[in-house]
Symmetry: C2
Subunit: 259 residues, 2 copies
Amino acid sequence: MRNIKLVIEYDGTNYVGWQRQPAHHGKSIQQELEKALACVLKQQYSLLGAGRTDAGVHALAQVANFHTTCNIPVEKLPIALNNLLPHDIRVRLASDMDENFHARFCAHSKTYRYHIVHGGPCSVFDERYAWQIFKKLDVEAMRRAATYFLGEHDFRNFSVLGSSVKGFVRNISRLELIEPGKTELCTHGNYGEPLLIEVSANGFLYKMVRLITASLVEVGRGRLDEEVLRAYIERTTPFHTMPPAPAKGLLLLRVDYGK
Amino acid sequence: MRNIKLVIEYDGTNYVGWQRQPAHHGKSIQQELEKALACVLKQQYSLLGAGRTDAGVHALAQVANFHTTCNIPVEKLPIALNNLLPHDIRVRLASDMDENFHARFCAHSKTYRYHIVHGGPCSVFDERYAWQIFKKLDVEAMRRAATYFLGEHDFRNFSVLGSSVKGFVRNISRLELIEPGKTELCTHGNYGEPLLIEVSANGFLYKMVRLITASLVEVGRGRLDEEVLRAYIERTTPFHTMPPAPAKGLLLLRVDYGK
């Protein structure tokens, strides 16, 4: 039995998210991929994804695997699938793995990037991929607050109750605020500044990245004190819930499997 | 009478082009802007655009002007218009000009950028903005061929007969092939190489940039000899017409008005 790993890129704008849904909810990435697989390999497969991305969330390198007895050369698979997939979903790589590989359970860490444009409007070309905040954010305060998230914490305050999960403790190994500067294209008009929030952890709770982002933005707006946020993270103060940052700014950057 | 200049950014994917069209042809950028202007200023205006972009062509800084007796503060105009405009059209700047300013007739030069990804697939995030060519192009041959276009030529071979024009002679002051290299995002899978073709001229004929691009790509594919292309440009050989490069790769980068 072969065990094939796929690396998948998608623009999530037009989808209800990664996970297969009842048809009337709309199209999911998983469902489009499974449809293409069935067509290429003449059999129904169930894809195991590294993680579920929400409606409107994008991915640069989502990972999924499936088991098959087919004998298609693995390097032909992306081409065959991409011929059938819609333009906003692309299989970037396919590789044969050993039988124990599991896209979700074997993942050591995942990295997400959240894209903000602040202090002015974003370009129309970023409209689908960025959260536009007209106020200029205090990035230094956000950077200080970001350090409080690092390490192992019970993140139940930074999740929305959804599917059942095994506990709320996760370990954030990296949370970085990157200011790439305006591109050379942003010379006409008062564009805002891009700000990227990159976060790696051994796992994420439902809406965790978008809630961390929302709380950092509250700090950056001067509406949430850094020490109060720290108390929320350490769960010494009852949490004042807030809406998560918009889905469209979020990108699953990569899934790491160690050596 | 005030004369107001607008700098406009748009993603042309969902439009029939800049120019107002009969309603059943679909929505145009000009029409969306005129509708928003009428709503803000309570009067019908006719916008004069610097140039017509085709269906599917994008703009970073299209320029248009209109005359008005309204007394709205000019810095308020982009905000008011953007509140009404669809997300893929944005007014970036508005400024009061002297009465003689005309977006088209006063333009000294226009610059377009054509975006190619070659030698592999493009990212789903470039899908709307790039021409994907699976073959690896010979960029050096294209660069040599590009120099033949420089200067004043009769470009009738590089235009499609559309609206009536005053002659076919145009002066290309710059035609550069830029290889920006893959972005840090293109690390998963065999992405192609980005190649930008930037061209500035005192004016462009209908589909001229897309035909120049198509002919350079033919050279890059090894299907058109550089010297044959030179003869086409110098009109010493009857031209073998070719389809223009796809609209979606084209971006109106800027319009220059001299001092």
